[in-house]
């Protein structure tokens, strides 16, 4: 039988059993669409993480407290120690100590209840310096940010994130209003421009006060003496490694640590944060893709099932075709073409659903979905391959039928 005729008869058989073919195709379609969408979700999440990390500020190094080893020998996790102080930040800000670092913003934070009139709102209170705005690459939408003198004077001023502002003051302008935190009355001098969220952190729900004000008046306990993070901006991308070295050296000597491996702080760069976040993402994507792959496998078994039914149902036809001169090869090809056509149609359908999904899904949930062209093309080939693979057994069974037995069957 010529290939053209084999294809023709395969398509005819698919159309001849319309509903059944459609349901089989649907199985493959769902699997393919699931793969395309999970890969799309994964890639979307990756790009959103990357943009969130670059939103941290450019050429940024983040210094966090290292771990402590308690007397019982239990080592606490990173960030549990409060080894960084405002003095460390001041030292790093010195041009002599760290020439590659152009700006330093220490950050101390706790959760505080803010009160404006009769409204309460619990949020993260951040104590920092005037350079925070540039280091974190943020803008002020209304009013202004506090200045160096206001920091050294420990003025009672606060800058609010847009969410915090609207929670406390509604549509009203927050500027020059007052809020109370932990018994301290603060005047609102500015509102930040919306920045979105980074992972689980809402960048728009925070109240920023001069670190001096925070430590001297608002915060209590270790929060009043230590900082949780020091953000250092390097002069350029090329200066990043120099800045890293300078920060490392300065903090080791300031903390009287001889052995670098015993450092009580950790310096991370955006690249390391990004790669960590992406590897987490990739794991999740792989997991989802695995689940989608299983649904594809189920679709493939559906094809096999339907092809076996089709072979059983057409035993007589196969016998007749053999009597009329069909060689086993012809019969095998006919069923393989039928199975792979089901796969191909399912693949095309799945890609269409995937396309629609990438458009619709972002409206239904917060994560972006990107369409991966290689994954799409791959999915179609996988669909054909699935049809073909799961068609082999039924096709071989059909090809092996004896024409006599086949013709005798009812």
């Amino acid at each position: 039988m010529r290939w053209r005729d084999t294809l023709g008869s395969g398509v005819e058989a698919i159309i001849g059993h319309g509903l059944r073919s459609l349901l089989t195709i649907l199985g493959i379609m769902i699997g393919i669409a699931a793969v395309i969408l999970t890969v799309g979700l994964g890639e979307g999440a990756q790009s959103s993480v990357n943009s969130a990390i670059s939103a941290l500020g450019s050429n940024l190094l983040v210094v966090t407290p290292g771990s402590t080893t308690s007397s019982s020998g239990v080592r606490g996790g990173f960030g549990t120690a409060s080894t960084l102080t405002l003095a460390d930040a001041d030292a790093l800000g010195s041009k002599k100590v760290a020439p590659n670092v152009i700006a330093v913003a220490p950050q101390a934070e706790t959760v505080e209840v803010l009160t404006a009139g009769s409204t309460n709102w619990t949020t993260t209170m951040v104590g920092t310096t005037a350079s925070w705005l540039t280091v974190r690459d943020r803008q002020v939408q209304e009013g202004g940010f506090f200045t160096r003198p206001e920091v050294s004077g420990a003025d009672d001023v606060v800058v609010l994130g847009s969410t915090t502002a609207s929670e406390l003051f509604g549509a009203e302008s927050p500027i020059d209003q007052t809020i109370t935190a932990n018994g301290v009355t603060l005047t609102v001098i500015g509102e930040l421009t919306t920045a979105g969220s980074s992972g689980s952190t809402n960048l728009d729900d925070m109240a920023i006060v001069p670190i001096t004000t925070a430590q001297q008046q608002v915060f209590t306990g270790t929060f009043a003496t230590s900082v949780s993070t020091i953000y250092c901006e390097a002069s350029s991308a090329a200066g990043l490694s120099g800045a890293y070295q300078e920060i490392d050296d300065e903090l080791l000597s300031a903390h009287h640590i001889v052995e670098p491996s015993a450092a009580d702080f950790t310096i991370t760069s955006q690249t390391t944060i990004a790669s960590t976040a992406n590897s987490v993402n990739r794991t999740l994507t792989d997991l989802l893709a695995g689940v989608a792959g299983i649904s594809l496998l189920v679709g493939g078994i559906g094809v096999m099932n339907i092809m076996l039914v089709s072979v059983t149902e057409r035993v007589r036809e196969i016998g007749l075709r053999k009597a009329l001169g069909a060689a086993p090869t012809d019969i095998r090809r006919q069923f393989l073409v039928e199975a792979s056509s089901l796969g191909l149609l399912g693949g095309i359908g799945g890609v269409l659903v995937g396309f629609i999904g990438t458009v619709v899904l972002p409206h239904l949930q917060s994560n972006p979905v990107s369409l991966s062209i290689p994954a799409t093309i791959g999915a179609v080939f996988v669909a054909i391959a699935i049809g073909l693979t799961f068609g082999v057994y039924p096709a071989t069974r059909a090809a092996r039928l004896s024409p006599i037995d086949a013709l005798r069957s009812e």
């Binding site: 039988m1 053999k322 090869t329 012809d330």
Partner: protein, 261 residues
């Protein structure tokens, strides 16, 4: 019977290079130059369903010459079907030799048997065995698909074959839209479309009423008169009577007394 004669004439004109044998100018079949189409020597077929051997055929020797019309009669269980299967290259004998149109087919592989079935044999079955989803001409063209004949030629030859059985007007009808007799005629056209050396009809009238049966037997006779080699398998003596020669099979052996027509 003037119309059938006209059809027979068309067989010749449609198949200029066909197997219709050399006939003298008067078209008298007795003057056909004969050679054996079927030559079976000491054929045995043994099945082993359990531990015991069951001999379906016990040394069958038979020849059918080109242009002959032979009926094979026998009750069920006589080995009639087994003989038909081997004759039609649907099965191979356990022992003995079988030459079909000069070629030894008793030891061929499955693929070679498929090729022989396609080119040398035209089957007509009791159940018609038409594919319900295909129109009449599409059913007729099926053997040509496996002979790798291009589409346009397939259609031309399928329509010519339908014309031979007088069904050109029904070419686009599906089997369900045709009567039993018409369906069997479509099946006959399908058997003829490859211009086979042997037309093998297995109880072709078994499912038909008397009138339709007579029609099919008439067609077989016409084809025979035009020079086709026809083997008809039946259990009914009145059906076998249309053939020139009747062979009786019983217990896997041909009965010695052959009845010449």
């Amino acid at each position: 019977m003037s119309e059938p004669t006209a059809r027979v004439a068309r067989i010749d004109s449609d198949e200029p290079t066909g197997r219709v044998p050399r006939v003298d100018s008067d078209g008298d079949p007795t003057l056909i130059v004969r050679r054996p189409i079927i030559d079976m020597q000491q054929l045995w077929k043994t099945y082993r369903p359990g531990s015991l051997d069951v001999h379906a055929l016990r040394g069958v020797t038979l020849t059918v010459d080109e242009g002959e019309f032979v009926a094979i009669m026998g009750p069920s269980g006589s080995g009639k079907s087994t003989l038909m299967h081997i004759m039609g290259c649907l099965d191979i004998p356990t022992r003995g030799s079988y030459k079909l149109d000069g070629e030894d087919v008793s030891k061929l592989s499955e693929n070679s048997l498929a090729r022989i079935r396609n080119r040398e044999i035209g089957f007509v079955f009791q159940q018609y065995n038409l594919l319900a989803r295909l129109t009449a001409w599409r059913n007729v063209e099926l053997p040509l698909l496996y002979a790798r004949v291009p589409g346009a030629e397939r259609r031309r030859r399928a329509l010519a074959a339908l014309d031979q059985v007088g069904l050109s007007a029904r070419a686009e009808h599906r089997p369900t839209q045709l009567s039993g007799g018409q369906q069997q005629r479509v099946a006959l056209a399908r058997a003829l479309v490859t211009d086979p050396a042997l037309l093998l009809a297995d109880e072709p009238t078994g499912n038909l009423d008397t009138a339709a049966a007579a029609e099919i037997l008439g067609l077989l006779q016409e084809l025979h008169r035009a020079g086709r080699t026809v083997v008809l398998i039946t259990h009914e003596p009145e059906v076998a009577a249309v053939a020139d020669r009747t062979l009786r099979i019983r217990d896997g052996q041909l009965e010695p007394a052959e009845i010449a027509a």
